[in-house]
Protein backbone atom coordinates (compact mmCIF):
# COMPACT_ATOMS: atom_id res chain seq x y z
CA UNK A 1 0.00 0.00 0.00
CA UNK A 2 1.14 3.54 -0.67
CA UNK A 3 2.05 5.84 2.24
CA UNK A 4 -1.04 7.96 1.50
CA UNK A 5 -3.31 4.98 1.88
CA UNK A 6 -1.58 3.88 5.07
CA UNK A 7 -2.02 7.29 6.66
CA UNK A 8 -5.70 7.43 5.68
CA UNK A 9 -6.28 3.98 7.11
CA UNK A 10 -4.46 4.98 10.27
CA UNK A 11 -6.61 8.12 10.64
CA UNK A 12 -9.81 6.14 10.22
CA UNK A 13 -8.71 3.62 12.81
CA UNK A 14 -7.84 6.37 15.31
CA UNK A 15 -11.25 8.04 14.88
CA UNK A 16 -13.11 4.77 15.29
CA UNK A 17 -11.09 3.88 18.36
CA UNK A 18 -11.78 7.25 19.93
CA UNK A 19 -15.50 6.92 19.30
CA UNK A 20 -15.61 3.45 20.75
CA UNK A 21 -13.78 4.52 23.85
CA UNK A 22 -16.14 7.41 24.37
CA UNK A 23 -19.16 5.16 24.02
CA UNK A 24 -17.78 2.66 26.49
CA UNK A 25 -17.11 5.42 28.98
CA UNK A 26 -20.56 6.97 28.63
CA UNK A 27 -22.51 3.80 29.37
CA UNK A 28 -20.59 3.46 32.58
CA UNK A 29 -21.80 6.87 33.83
CA UNK A 30 -24.78 6.82 36.20
CA UNK A 31 -27.95 8.30 34.69
CA UNK A 32 -29.34 11.40 36.32
CA UNK A 33 -32.23 9.77 38.09
CA UNK A 34 -29.76 7.97 40.24
CA UNK A 35 -28.35 11.02 42.05
CA UNK A 36 -28.29 9.87 45.63
CA UNK A 37 -28.66 12.47 48.31
CA UNK A 38 -28.91 11.22 51.82
CA UNK A 39 -31.84 12.79 53.60
CA UNK A 40 -30.08 14.44 56.53
CA UNK A 41 -31.80 12.53 59.31
CA UNK A 42 -31.57 14.07 62.68
CA UNK A 43 -31.78 17.61 61.34
CA UNK A 44 -35.43 18.01 62.04
CA UNK A 45 -36.28 17.74 65.66
CA UNK A 46 -33.62 18.92 68.06
CA UNK A 47 -34.42 22.33 69.49
CA UNK A 48 -32.20 23.22 72.43
CA UNK A 49 -33.67 24.89 75.48
CA UNK A 50 -32.31 28.05 76.91
CA UNK A 51 -31.23 31.28 75.29
CA UNK A 52 -31.04 29.95 71.77
CA UNK A 53 -34.46 28.28 71.82
CA UNK A 54 -35.84 28.31 68.31
CA UNK A 55 -32.53 27.87 66.54
CA UNK A 56 -31.56 24.43 65.34
CA UNK A 57 -27.92 23.51 65.96
CA UNK A 58 -25.78 24.66 63.03
CA UNK A 59 -24.67 21.91 60.65
CA UNK A 60 -21.12 21.35 59.56
CA UNK A 61 -22.13 21.54 55.91
CA UNK A 62 -25.17 23.63 54.93
CA UNK A 63 -27.52 21.36 52.99
CA UNK A 64 -27.98 23.34 49.82
CA UNK A 65 -29.79 22.07 46.77
CA UNK A 66 -27.47 19.50 45.09
CA UNK A 67 -29.08 20.34 41.76
CA UNK A 68 -28.21 24.02 42.09
CA UNK A 69 -25.81 23.85 39.15
CA UNK A 70 -28.08 21.80 36.88
CA UNK A 71 -29.61 24.15 34.32
CA UNK A 72 -32.44 21.75 33.46
CA UNK A 73 -33.60 21.28 37.04
CA UNK A 74 -35.93 24.31 37.06
CA UNK A 75 -37.69 23.23 33.88
CA UNK A 76 -38.01 19.63 35.07
CA UNK A 77 -39.23 20.86 38.44
CA UNK A 78 -41.87 23.01 36.79
CA UNK A 79 -43.23 20.02 34.89
CA UNK A 80 -43.38 17.97 38.08
CA UNK A 81 -45.11 20.87 39.83
CA UNK A 82 -48.04 20.41 37.47
CA UNK A 83 -47.87 16.61 37.26
CA UNK A 84 -47.87 16.00 41.02
CA UNK A 85 -50.88 18.33 41.48
CA UNK A 86 -48.86 20.99 43.34
CA UNK A 87 -50.46 23.48 40.94
CA UNK A 88 -53.91 22.41 42.10
CA UNK A 89 -53.34 23.74 45.62
CA UNK A 90 -50.63 26.33 45.14
CA UNK A 91 -51.87 27.69 41.82
CA UNK A 92 -50.51 27.34 38.30
CA UNK A 93 -48.76 30.65 38.91
CA UNK A 94 -47.61 29.44 42.37
CA UNK A 95 -49.38 32.43 43.92
CA UNK A 96 -51.46 30.27 46.22
CA UNK A 97 -55.07 29.20 46.51
CA UNK A 98 -55.90 26.23 48.69
CA UNK A 99 -52.27 26.29 49.75
CA UNK A 100 -49.96 29.22 50.45
CA UNK A 101 -48.23 31.51 47.98
CA UNK A 102 -44.81 30.08 47.07
CA UNK A 103 -43.48 33.22 45.43
CA UNK A 104 -43.45 35.46 48.50
CA UNK A 105 -40.93 35.50 51.33
CA UNK A 106 -43.29 34.22 53.99
CA UNK A 107 -42.60 30.63 54.91
CA UNK A 108 -44.55 29.05 57.74
CA UNK A 109 -42.06 26.23 58.04
CA UNK A 110 -38.89 27.87 56.74
CA UNK A 111 -37.78 28.98 53.29
CA UNK A 112 -34.24 27.65 52.82
CA UNK A 113 -33.83 24.82 50.31
CA UNK A 114 -33.59 22.14 52.99
CA UNK A 115 -36.66 23.55 54.82
CA UNK A 116 -38.71 23.34 51.64
CA UNK A 117 -37.33 19.86 50.93
CA UNK A 118 -38.47 18.73 54.36
CA UNK A 119 -41.91 20.28 53.99
CA UNK A 120 -42.44 18.31 50.78
CA UNK A 121 -40.89 15.13 52.18
CA UNK A 122 -42.69 15.12 55.55
CA UNK A 123 -45.96 16.86 54.78
CA UNK A 124 -47.26 19.56 57.12
CA UNK A 125 -50.11 19.77 59.66
CA UNK A 126 -52.51 21.99 57.71
CA UNK A 127 -52.93 19.58 54.82
CA UNK A 128 -49.64 19.50 52.87
CA UNK A 129 -49.29 15.83 51.86
CA UNK A 130 -46.12 13.86 52.72
CA UNK A 131 -44.32 12.89 49.50
CA UNK A 132 -41.25 11.24 51.01
CA UNK A 133 -42.43 7.68 50.42
CA UNK A 134 -43.54 8.33 46.86
CA UNK A 135 -40.91 10.62 45.36
CA UNK A 136 -37.18 9.89 45.51
CA UNK A 137 -34.79 12.59 46.81
CA UNK A 138 -33.75 13.72 43.34
CA UNK A 139 -37.35 14.39 42.35
CA UNK A 140 -38.00 16.45 45.46
CA UNK A 141 -34.85 18.50 44.82
CA UNK A 142 -36.15 19.21 41.30
CA UNK A 143 -39.30 20.64 42.83
CA UNK A 144 -37.18 22.68 45.25
CA UNK A 145 -35.19 24.03 42.30
CA UNK A 146 -38.38 25.22 40.67
CA UNK A 147 -39.61 26.87 43.87
CA UNK A 148 -36.25 28.55 44.34
CA UNK A 149 -36.56 29.99 40.84
CA UNK A 150 -39.73 31.82 41.93
CA UNK A 151 -37.68 34.22 44.00
CA UNK A 152 -39.13 33.95 47.47
CA UNK A 153 -36.77 31.49 49.05
CA UNK A 154 -33.76 32.14 51.24
CA UNK A 155 -30.20 30.93 50.72
CA UNK A 156 -29.01 28.05 52.87
CA UNK A 157 -27.42 29.33 56.07
CA UNK A 158 -23.60 29.16 56.22
CA UNK A 159 -22.30 27.51 59.41
CA UNK A 160 -20.60 30.61 60.77
CA UNK A 161 -23.36 33.11 60.03
CA UNK A 162 -25.42 32.12 63.06
CA UNK A 163 -27.95 34.78 64.07
CA UNK A 164 -27.16 37.06 61.19
CA UNK A 165 -28.29 34.59 58.54
CA UNK A 166 -31.47 35.42 56.66
CA UNK A 167 -32.76 31.95 57.43
CA UNK A 168 -32.65 32.65 61.14
CA UNK A 169 -34.23 36.04 60.65
CA UNK A 170 -37.22 34.43 59.00
CA UNK A 171 -38.71 33.47 62.32
CA UNK A 172 -39.12 37.15 63.15
CA UNK A 173 -40.04 38.24 59.67
CA UNK A 174 -42.75 35.72 58.87
CA UNK A 175 -46.05 36.85 60.34
CA UNK A 176 -47.45 33.83 62.04
CA UNK A 177 -50.94 32.89 60.94
CA UNK A 178 -51.12 35.79 58.50
CA UNK A 179 -53.39 35.07 55.56
CA UNK A 180 -52.90 36.86 52.30
Amino acid sequence: MSPARVSILGLVLVVVAAGATGWVLSIGKQPENRVAVAYPEGLAAVVPLGISAGHAPPLAVPPDNPLASDPNSVEEGKKLYGQMNCAGCHGYDAKGGMGPDLTDTEWRYGGTPIDIYKSIYEGRPQGMPAWGNTLPPNTIWLLVSYIQSLGGTFAAAAPDEGDASPAAAQGQGARAGQRQ
Partner: protein
Amino acid sequence: MRRLLALFGLCLLPGGCARAPLSYLDATSPIGGAIASLGWGLTGISVGVCIIVGLLLVVAIVRRRAAADTAIGPVNDRLALRWIGAGVGVSTVVLLGAAIWTLVTVHSIGEPPRNAPLTIDVVGQEWWWSVKYRAADPAREFETADQLVIPVNVPVKIELTSRDVIHSFWVPKLGGKMDMIPSRTNVTWLEADKIGDYRGQCSEFCGLQHANMAFNVRVLSQADFDVWWTRQLQPAAGSPDTDAGLNTFMVRCAACHTIRGTPAGGILGPDLSHFGSRESIAADLMPNTPENLANWIDNTQTIKPGVKMPELHMLASEVSDVTSYLENLK
Protein backbone atom coordinates in the same frame (compact mmCIF):
# COMPACT_ATOMS: atom_id res chain seq x y z
CA MET B 1 -17.74 -14.07 -2.40
CA ARG B 2 -20.05 -16.82 -3.41
CA ARG B 3 -21.11 -17.35 0.18
CA LEU B 4 -21.92 -13.66 0.46
CA LEU B 5 -24.12 -13.84 -2.61
CA ALA B 6 -25.83 -16.92 -1.31
CA LEU B 7 -26.56 -15.21 2.01
CA PHE B 8 -27.90 -12.19 0.15
CA GLY B 9 -30.13 -14.36 -1.94
CA LEU B 10 -31.38 -16.19 1.12
CA CYS B 11 -32.26 -12.93 2.74
CA LEU B 12 -34.53 -12.08 -0.08
CA LEU B 13 -36.56 -15.19 0.44
CA PRO B 14 -39.73 -14.56 2.44
CA GLY B 15 -39.12 -17.75 4.31
CA GLY B 16 -35.89 -16.45 5.68
CA CYS B 17 -37.46 -13.22 6.79
CA ALA B 18 -40.56 -14.59 8.47
CA ARG B 19 -38.54 -15.28 11.58
CA ALA B 20 -37.71 -11.58 11.81
CA PRO B 21 -40.63 -9.88 13.61
CA LEU B 22 -40.03 -6.51 12.02
CA SER B 23 -39.93 -7.70 8.47
CA TYR B 24 -42.32 -5.68 6.36
CA LEU B 25 -41.69 -7.78 3.30
CA ASP B 26 -43.71 -10.54 4.84
CA ALA B 27 -46.87 -8.70 5.68
CA THR B 28 -50.03 -10.20 7.10
CA SER B 29 -52.29 -7.30 6.38
CA PRO B 30 -53.90 -5.75 3.34
CA ILE B 31 -51.93 -2.57 3.96
CA GLY B 32 -48.68 -4.33 4.49
CA GLY B 33 -49.51 -6.58 1.60
CA ALA B 34 -50.01 -3.65 -0.73
CA ILE B 35 -46.74 -2.08 0.35
CA ALA B 36 -44.89 -5.36 0.10
CA SER B 37 -46.29 -6.09 -3.36
CA LEU B 38 -45.25 -2.68 -4.52
CA GLY B 39 -41.83 -3.26 -3.03
CA TRP B 40 -41.42 -6.60 -4.69
CA GLY B 41 -42.75 -5.26 -7.94
CA LEU B 42 -40.41 -2.31 -8.08
CA THR B 43 -37.54 -4.56 -7.03
CA GLY B 44 -38.45 -6.97 -9.78
CA ILE B 45 -38.58 -4.20 -12.35
CA SER B 46 -35.28 -2.76 -11.16
CA VAL B 47 -33.59 -6.14 -11.16
CA GLY B 48 -35.02 -6.85 -14.58
CA VAL B 49 -33.75 -3.57 -15.94
CA CYS B 50 -30.34 -4.22 -14.43
CA ILE B 51 -30.19 -7.65 -16.02
CA ILE B 52 -31.28 -6.39 -19.43
CA VAL B 53 -28.87 -3.48 -19.41
CA GLY B 54 -26.14 -5.70 -18.03
CA LEU B 55 -26.68 -8.26 -20.78
CA LEU B 56 -26.65 -5.59 -23.46
CA LEU B 57 -23.45 -4.17 -22.00
CA VAL B 58 -21.81 -7.57 -21.96
CA VAL B 59 -22.93 -8.22 -25.52
CA ALA B 60 -21.63 -4.84 -26.59
CA ILE B 61 -18.27 -5.48 -24.96
CA VAL B 62 -17.88 -9.02 -26.26
CA ARG B 63 -19.13 -8.40 -29.79
CA ARG B 64 -16.14 -6.71 -31.46
CA ARG B 65 -16.15 -4.54 -34.46
CA ALA B 66 -15.00 -6.03 -37.74
CA ALA B 67 -11.14 -5.80 -37.97
CA ALA B 68 -11.32 -3.82 -41.19
CA ASP B 69 -13.75 -1.29 -39.84
CA THR B 70 -11.40 1.34 -38.34
CA ALA B 71 -13.00 4.42 -39.80
CA ILE B 72 -13.61 7.14 -37.32
CA GLY B 73 -16.30 9.47 -38.38
CA PRO B 74 -19.95 10.22 -38.08
CA VAL B 75 -21.91 7.10 -38.47
CA ASN B 76 -25.45 7.27 -39.66
CA ASP B 77 -26.61 4.17 -37.95
CA ARG B 78 -30.37 3.91 -37.98
CA LEU B 79 -30.17 0.72 -36.02
CA ALA B 80 -28.48 2.45 -33.12
CA LEU B 81 -31.12 5.18 -33.12
CA ARG B 82 -33.82 2.55 -33.11
CA TRP B 83 -32.19 0.93 -30.09
CA ILE B 84 -32.13 4.28 -28.28
CA GLY B 85 -35.70 5.05 -29.23
CA ALA B 86 -36.88 1.65 -28.09
CA GLY B 87 -35.01 2.02 -24.82
CA VAL B 88 -36.50 5.44 -24.07
CA GLY B 89 -39.96 4.28 -25.03
CA VAL B 90 -39.83 1.16 -22.86
CA SER B 91 -38.32 3.07 -19.93
CA THR B 92 -40.99 5.75 -20.11
CA VAL B 93 -43.80 3.24 -20.15
CA VAL B 94 -42.31 1.20 -17.32
CA LEU B 95 -41.48 4.22 -15.15
CA LEU B 96 -44.89 5.78 -15.73
CA GLY B 97 -46.49 2.48 -14.89
CA ALA B 98 -44.41 2.17 -11.73
CA ALA B 99 -45.27 5.72 -10.74
CA ILE B 100 -48.98 5.14 -11.19
CA TRP B 101 -48.77 1.89 -9.31
CA THR B 102 -46.97 3.64 -6.44
CA LEU B 103 -49.46 6.48 -6.25
CA VAL B 104 -52.41 4.12 -6.39
CA THR B 105 -50.93 1.99 -3.64
CA VAL B 106 -50.15 4.96 -1.40
CA HIS B 107 -53.62 6.37 -1.92
CA SER B 108 -55.31 3.08 -1.19
CA ILE B 109 -53.52 2.59 2.10
CA GLY B 110 -53.42 6.20 3.16
CA GLU B 111 -56.85 6.53 4.67
CA PRO B 112 -58.80 4.08 6.72
CA PRO B 113 -62.07 2.85 5.24
CA ARG B 114 -64.81 5.31 6.00
CA ASN B 115 -66.50 3.32 8.71
CA ALA B 116 -63.62 1.77 10.57
CA PRO B 117 -65.54 0.09 13.36
CA LEU B 118 -62.81 0.54 15.95
CA THR B 119 -60.86 3.65 16.86
CA ILE B 120 -57.89 3.65 19.20
CA ASP B 121 -55.99 6.69 20.44
CA VAL B 122 -52.27 6.07 20.86
CA VAL B 123 -50.19 8.71 22.61
CA GLY B 124 -46.42 8.35 22.52
CA GLN B 125 -44.25 9.62 25.31
CA GLU B 126 -40.71 8.94 26.36
CA TRP B 127 -40.55 5.90 26.17
CA TRP B 128 -43.91 4.14 26.30
CA TRP B 129 -47.28 4.07 24.60
CA SER B 130 -50.58 5.12 26.12
CA VAL B 131 -53.44 3.32 24.36
CA LYS B 132 -57.03 4.45 24.74
CA TYR B 133 -59.93 2.48 23.32
CA ARG B 134 -62.76 4.69 22.09
CA ALA B 135 -66.40 3.75 21.90
CA ALA B 136 -69.68 5.48 21.20
CA ASP B 137 -70.80 4.54 24.69
CA PRO B 138 -68.51 6.38 27.16
CA ALA B 139 -68.85 3.58 29.71
CA ARG B 140 -67.01 1.25 27.34
CA GLU B 141 -63.98 3.51 26.97
CA PHE B 142 -60.84 2.53 28.84
CA GLU B 143 -57.10 2.97 28.79
CA THR B 144 -54.18 0.55 28.67
CA ALA B 145 -50.48 0.82 27.80
CA ASP B 146 -47.74 -0.67 25.64
CA GLN B 147 -50.01 -3.10 23.90
CA LEU B 148 -52.67 -3.10 21.20
CA VAL B 149 -55.25 -5.82 20.93
CA ILE B 150 -57.32 -5.83 17.76
CA PRO B 151 -59.74 -8.18 16.07
CA VAL B 152 -58.71 -10.00 12.90
CA ASN B 153 -59.88 -8.77 9.47
CA VAL B 154 -61.25 -5.54 10.92
CA PRO B 155 -59.82 -2.16 9.89
CA VAL B 156 -58.77 -0.26 12.99
CA LYS B 157 -58.36 3.51 12.92
CA ILE B 158 -55.48 4.78 15.04
CA GLU B 159 -55.26 8.43 16.11
CA LEU B 160 -51.75 9.41 17.04
CA THR B 161 -50.20 12.19 19.01
CA SER B 162 -47.31 12.70 21.38
CA ARG B 163 -46.93 14.19 24.83
CA ASP B 164 -43.36 15.34 24.42
CA VAL B 165 -41.15 14.86 21.31
CA ILE B 166 -41.87 13.35 17.89
CA HIS B 167 -42.26 9.58 17.89
CA SER B 168 -43.42 7.34 15.09
CA PHE B 169 -45.89 4.49 15.13
CA TRP B 170 -44.97 1.46 13.05
CA VAL B 171 -46.17 -2.11 13.00
CA PRO B 172 -44.21 -3.43 10.02
CA LYS B 173 -46.32 -6.48 9.35
CA LEU B 174 -49.62 -4.67 9.62
CA GLY B 175 -49.26 -1.16 8.29
CA GLY B 176 -47.14 1.83 7.42
CA LYS B 177 -45.25 4.34 9.55
CA MET B 178 -46.93 7.46 10.86
CA ASP B 179 -45.29 10.18 12.94
CA MET B 180 -46.70 11.15 16.32
CA ILE B 181 -46.29 14.88 16.68
CA PRO B 182 -47.09 16.87 19.84
CA SER B 183 -50.10 19.21 19.58
CA ARG B 184 -51.24 17.43 16.44
CA THR B 185 -53.34 14.39 15.69
CA ASN B 186 -52.29 12.13 12.83
CA VAL B 187 -54.43 9.28 11.62
CA THR B 188 -53.32 5.86 10.42
CA TRP B 189 -54.91 2.47 10.33
CA LEU B 190 -54.14 -1.21 10.71
CA GLU B 191 -55.77 -4.35 9.50
CA ALA B 192 -54.56 -7.87 10.20
CA ASP B 193 -55.22 -10.97 8.11
CA LYS B 194 -54.05 -13.56 10.59
CA ILE B 195 -54.39 -14.14 14.29
CA GLY B 196 -51.11 -13.84 16.18
CA ASP B 197 -48.69 -11.48 17.88
CA TYR B 198 -46.91 -8.75 16.00
CA ARG B 199 -44.29 -6.32 17.09
CA GLY B 200 -44.53 -2.56 16.78
CA GLN B 201 -41.64 -0.17 17.08
CA CYS B 202 -41.06 3.54 17.51
CA SER B 203 -39.45 4.64 14.30
CA GLU B 204 -38.48 8.24 14.92
CA PHE B 205 -35.46 8.87 17.12
CA CYS B 206 -36.84 10.23 20.37
CA GLY B 207 -34.10 10.10 22.95
CA LEU B 208 -31.96 7.78 24.99
CA GLN B 209 -34.33 4.83 24.99
CA HIS B 210 -35.73 5.12 21.49
CA ALA B 211 -34.46 1.66 20.67
CA ASN B 212 -36.37 0.24 23.65
CA MET B 213 -39.70 1.80 22.78
CA ALA B 214 -41.64 -1.07 21.26
CA PHE B 215 -45.06 -2.56 21.74
CA ASN B 216 -46.97 -5.71 21.05
CA VAL B 217 -49.98 -6.04 18.80
CA ARG B 218 -52.13 -9.04 19.54
CA VAL B 219 -54.65 -10.03 16.91
CA LEU B 220 -57.58 -12.07 18.17
CA SER B 221 -60.75 -13.44 16.69
CA GLN B 222 -63.73 -11.11 17.03
CA ALA B 223 -65.23 -13.25 19.80
CA ASP B 224 -62.00 -13.37 21.81
CA PHE B 225 -61.57 -9.64 21.28
CA ASP B 226 -65.01 -8.89 22.71
CA VAL B 227 -64.22 -11.04 25.71
CA TRP B 228 -60.92 -9.22 26.18
CA TRP B 229 -62.63 -5.82 26.00
CA THR B 230 -65.24 -6.77 28.56
CA ARG B 231 -62.50 -8.09 30.82
CA GLN B 232 -60.58 -4.80 30.57
CA LEU B 233 -63.64 -2.89 31.77
CA GLN B 234 -63.80 -4.90 35.01
CA PRO B 235 -62.44 -2.97 37.98
CA ALA B 236 -59.71 -4.51 40.11
CA ALA B 237 -60.90 -6.19 43.28
CA GLY B 238 -59.50 -5.61 46.75
CA SER B 239 -58.89 -2.56 48.91
CA PRO B 240 -55.72 -0.97 50.30
CA ASP B 241 -56.88 -1.77 53.82
CA THR B 242 -56.89 -5.52 53.28
CA ASP B 243 -54.38 -6.11 50.50
CA ALA B 244 -50.72 -5.51 51.43
CA GLY B 245 -49.61 -5.38 47.83
CA LEU B 246 -52.23 -2.81 46.92
CA ASN B 247 -51.38 -0.82 50.02
CA THR B 248 -47.71 -0.68 49.04
CA PHE B 249 -48.72 0.17 45.50
CA MET B 250 -50.83 3.08 46.75
CA VAL B 251 -47.93 4.52 48.75
CA ARG B 252 -45.14 3.95 46.24
CA CYS B 253 -46.66 3.80 42.78
CA ALA B 254 -50.11 5.37 42.69
CA ALA B 255 -48.91 8.93 42.15
CA CYS B 256 -47.85 7.94 38.62
CA HIS B 257 -49.87 4.82 37.76
CA THR B 258 -53.55 4.01 37.44
CA ILE B 259 -55.29 0.74 38.25
CA ARG B 260 -59.01 0.93 37.50
CA GLY B 261 -61.11 0.02 40.49
CA THR B 262 -58.55 1.20 43.03
CA PRO B 263 -57.79 4.72 44.29
CA ALA B 264 -54.62 4.70 42.17
CA GLY B 265 -55.11 7.33 39.46
CA GLY B 266 -51.73 8.63 38.31
CA ILE B 267 -51.38 9.40 34.61
CA LEU B 268 -47.66 10.16 34.45
CA GLY B 269 -46.74 6.51 33.85
CA PRO B 270 -48.46 3.62 32.01
CA ASP B 271 -51.90 2.45 33.08
CA LEU B 272 -51.36 -0.85 34.89
CA SER B 273 -54.93 -2.17 34.97
CA HIS B 274 -54.98 -5.92 34.27
CA PHE B 275 -51.20 -5.89 34.22
CA GLY B 276 -51.02 -9.60 34.87
CA SER B 277 -52.44 -10.34 31.44
CA ARG B 278 -49.86 -8.27 29.58
CA GLU B 279 -47.21 -9.82 27.38
CA SER B 280 -44.26 -7.67 28.37
CA ILE B 281 -42.88 -5.04 30.68
CA ALA B 282 -41.48 -1.59 29.96
CA ALA B 283 -42.64 -1.17 26.37
CA ASP B 284 -41.90 -4.68 25.20
CA LEU B 285 -38.45 -4.69 26.74
CA MET B 286 -38.76 -8.06 28.46
CA PRO B 287 -41.40 -10.74 28.95
CA ASN B 288 -43.84 -10.25 31.79
CA THR B 289 -42.70 -12.68 34.46
CA PRO B 290 -42.57 -12.14 38.23
CA GLU B 291 -38.76 -12.26 38.22
CA ASN B 292 -38.50 -9.70 35.45
CA LEU B 293 -41.04 -7.46 37.13
CA ALA B 294 -39.23 -7.53 40.47
CA ASN B 295 -35.96 -6.83 38.68
CA TRP B 296 -37.57 -3.96 36.77
CA ILE B 297 -38.91 -2.32 39.93
CA ASP B 298 -35.59 -2.70 41.73
CA ASN B 299 -33.16 -1.81 38.97
CA THR B 300 -35.17 0.43 36.67
CA GLN B 301 -32.34 2.80 35.83
CA THR B 302 -29.88 0.03 35.07
CA ILE B 303 -32.25 -1.78 32.74
CA LYS B 304 -33.58 1.28 30.93
CA PRO B 305 -31.42 4.25 31.95
CA GLY B 306 -33.04 7.65 31.68
CA VAL B 307 -36.68 6.60 31.99
CA LYS B 308 -38.86 8.79 34.17
CA MET B 309 -39.65 5.95 36.56
CA PRO B 310 -37.35 6.43 39.55
CA GLU B 311 -35.76 3.83 41.77
CA LEU B 312 -37.34 4.17 45.17
CA HIS B 313 -35.01 1.66 46.88
CA MET B 314 -37.97 -0.22 48.27
CA LEU B 315 -37.64 -3.00 50.79
CA ALA B 316 -37.51 -6.51 49.40
CA SER B 317 -40.83 -7.27 51.07
CA GLU B 318 -42.42 -4.27 49.40
CA VAL B 319 -41.11 -5.33 46.00
CA SER B 320 -42.39 -8.85 46.38
CA ASP B 321 -45.81 -7.62 47.62
CA VAL B 322 -46.23 -5.26 44.69
CA THR B 323 -44.97 -7.81 42.19
CA SER B 324 -47.39 -10.50 43.28
CA TYR B 325 -50.24 -7.96 43.39
CA LEU B 326 -49.58 -6.80 39.85
CA GLU B 327 -49.13 -10.29 38.46
CA ASN B 328 -52.49 -11.24 39.94
CA LEU B 329 -54.25 -8.44 38.10
CA LYS B 330 -55.40 -10.62 35.25
